[in-house]
């Protein structure tokens, strides 16, 4: 926060303490401090409650106040799920034309396989809703909400391996070390809540553990931004936030008493030393105490109706499942969390497309669709942006042998894939852009990863070229030196 304003706030606080001495409950005092430390912030345009962002943000009126990114880690097969290409069935088993392949590189998983036979979709496609969007029968619930979705079918990216591609999508760079999208947005826009972290990450994987992708912490790292902007990874078991629970044998009442005295003793030291950091520390301890109450309340689903729970599917009560995380995402959105990154691993079907794709879809279809329906019925979809998608697509040709149907697979494919968006500011029922007749290269209205990033930032009221941070002498930004806002996606 602004040091001058902070100084002002301090001064008032000291006077306040001086007058009221220790008459009042210190708890009440301490919570006042918490509020007051952010008092200057409330005057700023970018926030009313919570934690302030930068003074000149948002750059323009935002359509979305928060983002839920449903990240499908491992890369779902666009040609089996959304990008219907009759040509694939027609040419099933035949070589994909060289002109389409164009000597492009793939992962070394394909080393030793020179054949590139077309693999027809293993699913059945149909058109749905008023928008007549193509969705495969593996995703019946998603098919039911297509008129709320905005499909981008012409995505493309740079990297051919998971970690670099995910890092690229989330941080704008293939190499780890840059701030992730959530860090940029919370740095720029601050938070609407004091009681929960502004940027929350939740991870899950498929039940069968069919692929071993790891969730690296740089997927939600703050890079060179201060570490307070890094995503807080809610754990899939035990306390969602590390060290949230009081130690065994210390009740909330005992803790309250300790914190009251701690605040009082720190205040004495503050009067002696005058360091404004001490006041911040008092406020942060108070916030920690609040978080100890707000997180358990957050994870308590007992007030959710049976209908709501049923919508998310049977796994919703299992902490650490995708369904659980989707419901948590809605609850976090309600409580003012700025950026919610839900990551689900299990889409990497190199050799088990016929068995695993269905399982992934079963795990994720209902919860993803339920989240959209749930946000909508609560009026939250109006200012919440939801994005569903992976780090790239999968090859329209086969990895494996055509006669070995059990081991059919598709390799990594950065040249064309599909994501969908929904909610604040995006046009519902739109199918934007397209790939070629093989689903191979994005050809019409191509959307690069940097374009997607620029677009997300724009919906949040942020000009991607103006949200910068100077590090190592350069003004860095999420989109590096690229990115065009795809205005055609806006409602």
């Amino acid at each position: 926060m602004n040091p001058l304003d902070h100084g002002q706030a301090l001064y008032t606080r000291r006077q306040f303490f001086g007058k009221s001495a220790l008459g009042l409950g210190t708890a009440a005092l301490a919570s006042l401090i918490g509020k007051e430390a952010w008092a200057a912030a409330s005057a700023m345009p970018s926030m009313r409650h919570g934690v302030p962002g930068l003074p000149d943000l948002p750059h323009f009126a935002p359509k979305a106040k928060r983002v839920i990114y449903l990240f499908q880690n491992g890369a779902p097969s666009h040609v089996d799920l959304f990008d219907y290409k009759p040509k694939l069935r027609q040419m099933h088993g035949q070589q994909i034309p060289e002109a389409v392949l164009g000597g492009k590189r793939f992962s070394t998983m394909l080393d030793g396989q020179t054949a590139r036979p077309v693999l027809g979709e293993i699913t059945h496609f149909a058109q749905h809703g008023k928008s007549r969007a193509w969705v495969s029968d593996f995703l019946p619930q998603t098919a039911g909400i297509v008129d709320d979705l905005c499909f981008v079918k012409s995505m493309y990216t740079e990297a051919v391996n998971h970690a670099p591609a995910i890092t690229f999508l989330l941080t704008g760079s293939e190499m780890p070390g840059r701030p992730s999208m959530g860090s940029w947005l919370t740095y720029g826009l601050g938070s609407e809540t004091e009681e929960l972290p502004a940027f929350v990450v939740m991870t899950s994987r498929d039940k069968e553990a069919s692929c071993g992708q790891i969730f690296y912490d740089f997927y939600w790292g703050s890079g060179f931004l201060p570490t307070k902007y890094q995503g807080v990874n809610f754990r899939g078991s035990g306390d969602p936030v590390l060290y949230l629970s009081n130690p065994e044998g210390m009740s909330r009442a005992v803790r309250r008493g300790l914190l009251d005295d701690l605040a009082q003793l720190n205040e004495i030291n503050q009067q002696d030393f005058g360091d404004p950091e001490i006041a911040t520390r008092i406020a942060q301890y108070e916030m920690a105490y609040k978080m100890q109450a707000s997180v358990p309340e957050l994870t308590d689903f007992s007030q959710e109706s049976e209908a709501t729970l049923a919508m998310y599917g049977p796994e919703v009560r299992r902490q650490g499942s995708y369904a659980y995380n989707c419901l948590m995402a809605r609850r976090l959105a309600e409580r003012g969390v700025r950026f919610i990154q839900v990551m689900h691993a299990g889409w990497d079907q190199h050799r088990n497309l016929n068995t695993q794709l269905k399982i992934q879809c079963d795990d994720t279809d209902a919860p993803s669709a339920a989240l959209i329906r749930d946000l909508k019925q609560r009026g939250l979809l109006e200012d919440t942006l939801v994005i569903w998608g992976g780090e790239f697509g999968r090859t329209p040709f086969l990895q494996g042998k055509i006669e070995d149907t059990k081991q059919w697979g598709r390799d990594h494919h950065p040249y064309g894939f599909t994501v969908w968006m929904a909610g604040a500011g995006v046009k519902p029922g739109l199918c934007y852009g397209s790939t070629d007749e093989f689903g191979f290269n994005a050809v019409d209205k191509k959307v690069h990863v940097h374009d997607l990033q620029a677009t997300i930032l724009h919906l949040m009221g942020v000009d991607h070229e103006r949200l910068t941070y100077k590090f190592q002498g350069r003004h860095f930004r999420l989109t590096d030196v690229h990115g065009n806002v795809v205005r055609d996606l806006f409602a």
């Binding site: 602004n2 008493g257 404004p276 002498g473």
Partner: protein
């Protein structure tokens, strides 16, 4: 607090300060060059390929040239200067920077530029690329301040303060000072005995002798190793998929020993960069080169070896540039630097130096050749034993399987037979010999068969555990990854956009960056430099940055912020030094002393500048929030690793065993499992290993130790310290068993060592803060103690639980209620801002 804003605001204040103090001229280096760089160099700077209108403003000739009758800058004549004309042009098509640029000039900046031209347009090269000249130590004129000058540091700082109309703060009281310097030099607080001795020492050099004692302590090397481990991106695993364990700890111990032995910084650098190439290199010198094998290593399935190899070299080039040149080389990987005079050729010249080792990019374990074998007989015996156990278990599995899969005993199924089985997993299992199976597949297999063949799953689980034991034993055999040199040098070419596949025709060979060549003498004679040559140049007088970056990092560790705040960037886009003469004086002093690190640290901590009280008035807190002017002593929250060490020390739990393999203290259950899908299990240590210093805590790269916050991530080279302040940090020091156990053991200590509530409160308070509590403070703590007694008397089970936190023994005869009440008080004391801070 938002450090970003406060810093930019203060940078502005600093600049204004300069204007006010020398109203007669604009300072090119500090006021003009940063504007030109930030607003113009992007298109009119060092990057030849992207340069617009062939106009170059970062070099003298470009800035002052005349083309077609137009002079870019005409000294003394703003109206004749095209530069001034263009930045004030009313035509939006013509104005510079272009009207759609995100960087626009402010009115103040335009005025500064105009004034600079009017005053004669004095130009000089960016300070960092000119060798430091030893400045004269200024005379402090103000009498009171003059008396306080203890060494030249003070002369520089105090004259600057005088210019600002400020005076230094009084000296901190002795107890505060001893705590501050003990934490800074050894990472541990003073013991009560040390404190008593110091307070009783009335000799005038009491402080200096305390400093000497601390610097001579072996704890000194353990404290300072931490900062270097951040620089070196040291960790106990490789990172990325699989995140295999490494045995790099002998290098960590090398660093501790080198620091304790006060190995001169030039030699310290030489040995780590090229110890293997020194004539008659010793094992220790070869071990030192593990420095550049501490980078992450991507062994992800599907990776292309060459891509990994090239990325590793990128990391080495860029880390080297950051540490010894304060240069941000990453930009030059793909194109000439936009702001600093480094070309892409320069980048690949350094690349060539690191391109000559035998690493291939292949390999997925944590001991990728070349390695230095430091294994012991015991380690090898453990592997042999584990192999034997695995053999026996594999036999059991085989006995089970040849019935299950109908195959010959001792022989796996052939591929075609295996393919007849349903599912991928049984197929894999059946055609792989039991002893050759991996943890990953066995994990899957156990899960898979648990449902349909529990007896088989049980056998496989046994095998899994035997494989794990074998892997672990093999992983513990000490082999340290080090550098080597191939005989037939590789040819290096510039890679377009840094893409390992996009080889250009442009060759590059080992050379000093062009900007430094004019001063580099023999290093610039045109011979292809190898690693040793480069290392020698880096610590030679012709590199103007090795000493500056080193003293700046030291300064940052003591004062929280470097003299150059952007410790990672000394280039034109970095922040100019707050005290340029002091920086150069320290740099030349450091080199003159024979790169004596301990002498440098001694010089800093014995200065009056360092010894000032850290009390701050509201006016100064407002005027200089981050204390860049140094009108007071440093005050910061301690690094999180030091907080843990401090808690261990004050409770008496600390076990001071030095060196050896990493240890695994408390960590919440499931952290590794969740991050690695159950492939890695955290096996917490017990006994003394729980209480070793943080330096020795095992660092899994993809999910670092949970006790530490604001720490370097140990993924890439990090030279910057973080001091953020969040609720999550409070949760650690309030609830992490490491801290709660320390509090309850600290309670045991004060109960045993003092008698009566007052004495115990005093002892606990003094252990943590090095001072006695005031009456008011004592009153609050006594009140809390009484309440806690009441609360715990009502909840005896809770008392028992709290008093039993952790694995340390507790006296059986100690009343749990009394113990818990005191544990609460001690936990409170450990969380005082004063305890958490260096004050």
């Amino acid at each position: 607090m938002c450090p970003v804003w406060s810093s930019s605001r203060f940078a502005f204040a600093l600049a204004l300060g300069v204007v006010a103090s020398r109203a007669e001229t604009v300072d090119f280096k500090r006021q003009i060059l940063p504007i030109l760089s930030d607003a113009c160099f992007r298109c009119h700077g060092p990057d030849g390929e992207k340069r617009k209108a062939k106009l170059r403003l970062d070099e003298h000739d470009g800035l002052f040239r005349t083309v077609d009758g137009l002079t870019v800058v005409a000294p003394g004549q703003p109206t004749e200067s095209e530069l001034i004309f263009r930045i004030t042009d009313a035509d939006p098509e013509e104005v510079m920077p272009p009207s759609d640029s995100t960087r626009q000039l402010t009115k103040t900046e335009i005025e500064l530029l105009r004034t600079w031209v009017k005053e004669g347009a004095h130009w000089e090269r960016h300070w960092a690329y000119v060798a430091p000249q030893r400045p004269e130590v200024p005379a402090v004129t103000e009498a009171a301040a003059r008396k306080r000058v203890h060494n030249p540091i003070d002369a520089f700082v105090f004259t600057r303060l005088a210019k600002e109309g400020l005076t230094p703060a009084p000296e901190a009281d002795p107890a505060t000072l001893l705590r501050r310097v003990s934490l800074d030099l050894t990472g541990l607080p003073p013991t009560p005995a040390e404190l008593d001795a110091f307070l009783a020492d009335e000799k005038p050099d009491a402080y200096e002798r305390a400093v000497d004692r601390l610097i001579a302590s072996p704890r000194y090397g353990e404290r300072w190793a931490w900062d270097w481990l951040d620089v070196a991106r040291y960790a106990d695993t490789s990172g990325y998929q699989g995140d295999p364990d490494r045995t790099m700890w002998p290098w960590r111990d090398w660093v501790v020993n080198a620091l304790n032995a006060n190995l001169p910084y030039d030699q310290f650098s030489l040995e780590q960069l090229a110890g293997d190439l020194l004539p008659g290199a010793t094992t220790e010198q070869k071990l030192a080169t593990a420095f550049h094998r501490n980078n992450m290593f991507n062994g992800e399935g599907g990776r292309i070896d060459e891509e990994t190899r090239v990325e590793n070299i990128f990391d080495r080039v860029e880390s080297t540039a950051t540490v010894w040149m304060g240069a941000t080389f990453t930009c030059a990987r793909c194109h000439d630097h936009k702001y600093d005079p480094f070309t892409q050729r320069d980048y690949y010249s350094l690349f060539d130096v690191f391109n000559q080792m035998s690493e291939t990019g292949r390999g997925g374990n944590g001991q990728i050749p070349p390695v230095l074998d430091l294994s012991t007989a015991a380690e090898k015996a453990a592997v042999a034993e584990a192999q034997a156990r695995l053999g026996a278990t594999a036999k059991e599995v085989d006995d089970f399987e040849w019935k299950k899969f109908a195959r010959a005993p001792g022989k796996p199924l052939t591929e075609s037979d295996a393919d007849k089985l349903p599912g991928n997993l049984p197929r894999y299992i059946a055609r792989t010999e039991p002893r050759k199976r991996t943890v990953d597949t066995l994990l899957e297999a156990v899960r898979y068969f648990q449902a349909n063949d529990p007896a088989y799953a049980a056998v496989l689980e046994k095998l899994l555990s035997a494989v794990r034991v074998k892997d672990e034993a093999a992983g513990r055999v000490t082999r340290v990854m080090v550098m080597d040199q191939i005989k037939q040098p590789r040819e290096t070419v510039v890679l377009a956009k840094g893409n390992y596949e996009a080889k250009t025709e442009t060759k590059a060979w080992g050379a000093v960056p062009a900007i430094f060549r004019p001063a580099a003498g023999a290093f610039a004679a045109g011979e292809r430099l190898n690693r040793l040559d480069l290392a020698k140049w880096l610590v030679s007088p012709s590199n103007p940055l090795a000493a500056r970056t080193a003293v700046n990092r030291a300064w940052q560790s003591f004062f929280g912020t470097g003299i150059v705040k952007t410790a990672e960037d000394f280039g034109v886009q970095g922040e100019p030094p707050s005290h340029p003469e002091l920086l150069d004086w320290l740099a030349t002093e450091f080199v003159g002393s024979g790169w004596d690190v301990k002498a440098l640290h001694r010089l800093i901590v014995t200065s009056s500048t360092y010894r000032q009280s850290s009390r701050v008035s509201p006016e100064m807190a407002e005027r200089d929030p981050s204390n860049r002017l140094l009108a007071r002593g440093p005050r910061h929250r301690l690094p999180s690793w030091m907080l843990r060490d401090q808690a261990l020390a004050v409770s008496g739990l600390l076990v001071e065993q030095r060196g050896g393999p990493a240890v695994k203290p408390y960590q919440p259950a499931g952290i590794w499992e969740e991050a690695t899908f159950g492939k890695k299990t955290y096996q917490q240590d017990h006994g003394e290993a729980l209480y070793r210093r943080s330096l020795y805590v095992f660092w899994r790269r993809i999910v670092g130790p949970t006790t530490f916050f604001d720490a370097g991530v140990r993924q890439v080279c990090s030279v910057k310290l973080a001091h953020t302040n969040t609720p999550l940090h409070a949760l650690v020091t309030l609830n992490d068993p490491a801290f709660v156990e320390a509090a309850r053991v600290m309670a045991q200590r004060v109960i045993a060592e003092s008698s009566g509530d007052d004495a115990r409160i005093e002892q606990a308070f003094r252990l943590a803060t090095a001072r006695a509590p005031t009456r008011e403070e004592k009153g609050i703590l006594r009140g809390r103690l009484k309440k806690l007694r009441v609360e715990y008397a009502a909840e005896p089970a809770a008392a028992k639980a709290l008093a039993a936190t952790g694995e340390a023994v507790r006296p059986a005869d100690l009343d749990p209620i009394e113990h818990a009440a005191w544990a609460g008080v001690c936990l409170l004391i450990l969380n005082l801002d004063e305890t958490l801070s260096k004050q």
